[in-house]
């Protein structure tokens, strides 16, 4: 099964880009979300909302908007913006399957976020494309029958057996 593994080393360059984006835009938080709806990593203030639900909704929202833009005859989708009364979200795609998501309030502006996010995308795009090339070349320690057996036991315990 193709699985995608992120090691600590991979996060170093990602963190640099995310923290710079956070600093330069004065955003509240930035998130990387896989298009399948899984949260990859995050930076900034995130304690006041459910990050797991947030990631699943961001992925669904982005994909729905991509379909919408296709219906309208567009070739690709540059970004999705959700404009709230106090907090807004800007999302854009990199490396075909990762969504960079910036949450910001009135201390920033959409124009600034869009500009800086685009810069971050160009840096992260390379990082993730390199990562995807490594898929299958590195066996994670979880890809073992022992892990599967231990997880199966946890499943049995969870479901009452």
């Amino acid at each position: 099964m193709p699985q995608w593994t992120l090691f600590e080393n991979d996060f170093r360059s990602i963190d640099l880009v995310l923290n710079e984006l956070l600093e330069r835009t004065n955003a509240l938080s930035v998130h990387l979300v896989d298009r399948s709806g899984q949260l990859i990593t995050t930076a900034g203030r995130t304690g006041d909302f459910d990050a797991t639900a947030f990631a699943s909704l961001i992925a669904a929202d982005f994909t729905a908007n991509a379909e919408l833009s296709q219906l309208l005859g567009e070739n690709g989708l540059a970004a999705v913006v959700s404009e709230g009364k106090s907090r807004s979200v800007h999302s854009c795609l990199l490396a075909d399957r990762v969504i960079l998501c910036t949450v910001f309030d009135r201390r920033s502006t959409l124009g600034l976020v869009r500009f800086r996010a685009q810069r971050a995308v160009s840096e992260l795009d390379r990082v993730f494309r390199d990562l995807f090339e490594k898929v299958g070349l590195v066996e994670p320690e979880t890809a073992t029958p022992e892990f599967a057996a231990a997880a199966s036991q946890e499943l049995d315990a969870l479901f009452g057996e």
């Binding site: 193709p2 896989d34 399948s36 899984q38 994909t63 090339e133 898929v135 890809a143 049995d156 479901f159």
Partner: protein, 211 residues
């Protein structure tokens, strides 16, 4: 596609409940949400119409706890079953690790079951997955609504929908019968697939899907 995060020491799997409209997919997730201890599951997120029909998806995250130092999480999704939500279903299928097909045992839904399964196969192809990759996605079948006064024989459901012999369970999801068995089997199949490598194929690039 499973995501293994070594920094957070987490591993995530995505399981999608597929099947015809009103077949009981959401009921499966609602039962699991009610049954599981709060510390092991997140909020049940439903994007539904005013009439409680699934509009986009339902979402329920489940945490297994620490396994060999990794927090193992399963993210459960349902798709909207109604025929005209085709594109929404494809969106939800992105990155799927395991499938649960919830079939309706009512005789009048026999055709709907078949169409839904064909729809699933078509979406997986459209997403750029090769036949061998599709074949390797673990799947479990659930014959739901076995408490109806008249039901399709299990043998008939099996022959029509599951000739390959994937694991299958009879269920009455609104009473919780067969619900945890179905999920447990799907989760285990996904775990076995993870460890049975090789993780050879790179993740398919996901360009904007074409209708």
């Amino acid at each position: 596609m499973a995501l293994i995060n070594h920094r957070a020491r987490e591993i995530h799997f995505k399981i999608v409940y597929y099947g015809p409209g009103l077949g009981g997919k959401t009921t499966n997730l609602k039962f699991l949400h009610d049954r599981l201890p709060p510390e092991r599951r997140g909020r049940l997120l439903s994007i539904a119409t005013d009439h409680e029909r699934t509009l986009f998806f339902d979402f329920l995250p489940i945490a297994l706890g620490q396994v060999n130092g990794f927090t193992t999480r399963f993210h459960l999704y349902t798709v909207p079953g109604q025929v005209y939500y085709r594109l929404s279903r494809r969106a939800v299928l992105q990155g799927v690790d395991g499938l649960v097909f919830v079939a309706d045992s009512h005789p009048a839904r026999e055709q709907a079951n078949r169409e839904s399964l064909a729809d699933l196969a078509e979406h997986l192809r459209t997403m750029g997955l090769a036949p061998a990759q599709i074949e390797r996605i673990p799947r479990v079948f659930q014959w739901n609504k076995r408490d109806l006064p008249v039901t399709l024989p299990v043998e008939r459901l099996h022959a029509a929908l599951n000739p390959g012999g994937a694991p299958e369970f009879e269920a009455v999801a609104r009473e919780g019968k067969g619900v945890t068995e179905t999920l447990r089997t799907a989760c285990k199949a996904v775990l076995v697939r993870l460890s049975s490598g090789p993780a050879a194929a790179p993740p398919p690039a996901l360009p904007t899907p074409r209708p």
